[in-house]
């Protein structure tokens, strides 16, 4: 295969509900891919499929076996433990490090997202923005080649959004591949290099960010996607 991850003709069904249909997608190293679409369009399912949390009902997903992955969720699940232990547990679960070493690296990761001073605080006592940054630290500590993010800023206030976006930008500049779902077209413009538009589980547009926001190009590619962008921008 070429690239980090490649989905070939993938369908995903949950019982009788088909969440994704005939998805072909290739993610290359260093890309910043935004997955957009309306509610229920299949964005989260596609992220989970690429990350390996959901299995295809048909088709296949190929992954670079050497590439490490991590995922950030809309509402991060943090254990009733200190911030440092929440990061350390992720490292410890991946194996190969002692608990003491995991805590040492966790402290570095917390410093990376500006939470070094909060390392001993109960994770659930942190603000929403801090919790999301803590989850980013947990993901970053795993040194992933590709980071999936499922609407990472949708529950945050503007300040929290800016903080998380700044970290995503830094991670991307450091060479990390980002694949994120978002409803926020401004965020997509700021962070993405490529946009994948989904509707009812089908990929209707897969364009560079410049082409996607060029009305003429998008109109030629997908009338529905063009309408979606117009509606979002209105």
């Amino acid at each position: 295969m070429s690239g980090l991850i490649q989905a070939r003709g993938v369908d995903v069904s949950f019982g009788r509900v088909r969440a994704l249909t005939a998805v072909d997608l290739r993610i290359a190293r260093g890309e910043r891919v935004a997955i957009i679409g309306g509610n229920g369009s299949g964005k989260s399912t596609l992220l989970r499929l690429l990350h390996g949390l959901v299995q295809p009902s048909r088709g296949s997903v190929l992954r670079d076996g050497h590439a490490r992955q991590a995922m950030l969720f809309q509402r991060p699940y943090l254990l009733r433990a200190s911030a440092i232990n929440n990061v350390a547990i992720g490292l410890w679960l991946r194996g190969g490090v002692s608990w003491a070493e995991a805590r040492g690296r966790a402290l570095l990761s917390l410093g990376r997202v500006g939470l070094g001073a909060h390392s001993q605080r109960n994770a659930r006592a942190l603000s929403g923005g801090q919790q999301q940054r803590l989850a980013l630290a947990r993901a970053w500590s795993l040194a992933p080649d590709v980071l999936f993010l499922d609407e990472p800023t949708s529950n945050l206030d503007p300040h929290g959004k800016r903080e998380v976006e700044a970290l995503m930008e830094e991670f991307a500049q450091g060479g990390m591949t980002l694949v994120f779902a978002s409803h926020n077209l401004g965020q997509v413009k700021r962070l993405a290099s490529r946009v994948v538009y989904l509707e009812e589980g089908r990929v209707l547009a897969d364009l560079s960010v410049q082409s996607f926001f060029d009305r003429e190009v998008l109109g030629r590619t997908s009338h529905d996607a063009a309408l979606f962008v117009k509606g979002e921008l209105a």
Binding site: H51, L53, F73, R80, R94
Partner: protein, 247 residues
């Protein structure tokens, strides 16, 4: 009527005397109850919490049937459990060679069987709720079934502490099973509930009333403990969520 009132007042007075005087007979029965129910609760919760946590995470063929059996066994009548254990431990039963019938061990076994489904079913529900909302995040970090069960059970420790307390309450308040397998022998297998039943029948109401008061106090203490644990749990978690609700 007046005679009855005097009799009632005298019964309460004598019961009070037994309580404040720490009557040796009463203390012995209470201690035996606590040991039997405490042992049964420890065994049942150790097994039940592990079983429930695993059932909350694992997906396998026949899981639905297992859960149906588990939930049905929540409503096991204690006398039926007593009867089954009696048959198993009686001299002609398959476990008769152990010689446990009419012993504290038999009572512990019976209460363990009675409480085990409660511990397993409630734990399963707690763990499964978290797993269905957030389990994929632990999977994403690389946690397998056993590790997720362990992590979620640990994370929900306050909820599970409530389960343990409820299990102890169920064990210490039951009468049917321990009556059947213990035989209610004085100084040997008599516990609070069986003693209350017997003393009431014999007409020794002061002892029955004193034991009833202790039993009620134990149950009241357990309920208060559950309330404290819940409050503690709320005060230590989800503070941003509480702030959002308050706002």
């Amino acid at each position: 009527m007046r005679l009855h009132m005097e009799s009632f007042a005298a019964t309460v007075d004598r019961a009070w005397g037994l309580l404040v005087g720490l009557d040796a007979h009463l203390v012995q029965i209470v201690a035996r109850s606590l040991v039997v129910s405490g042992s049964a609760c420890t065994i049942a919760c150790t097994l039940g919490l592990a079983m429930g946590a695993w059932l909350g995470i694992a997906r396998f063929r026949g899981r639905g049937a297992v859960l149906t059996v588990l939930n049905t066994s929540l409503a096991l009548p204690s006398v039926v459990v007593g009867l089954v254990v009696y048959l198993l431990l009686s001299r002609s039963g398959p476990l008769g060679f152990m010689g446990w019938l009419f012993s504290l061990k038999a009572m512990v076994v019976a209460q363990t069987i009675l409480v085990l489904p409660v511990a397993a079913a409630l734990t399963r529900q707690v763990v499964e709720d978290v797993e269905s909302n957030s389990g994929e995040q632990l999977r994403s970090l690389g946690a397998g079934v056993a590790m997720r069960a362990l992590l979620i059970a640990w994370d929900e420790r306050y909820a599970l502490l409530t389960v343990v307390i409820a299990c102890f309450g169920r064990a210490i308040a039951e009468v049917g099973a321990v009556m059947v397998v213990g035989g209610n022998m004085e100084g040997f297998t008599r516990v609070m509930t069986t003693a209350i039943a017997l003393e009431t029948e014999k007409g020794d109401l002061p002892l029955a009333l004193a034991l009833g008061a202790v039993l009620l106090a134990v149950v009241l203490f357990l309920n208060a403990l559950i309330a404290v644990v819940r409050r503690w749990r709320l005060s230590t978690i989800d503070q941003p969520m509480l702030q959002e609700i308050a706002a």
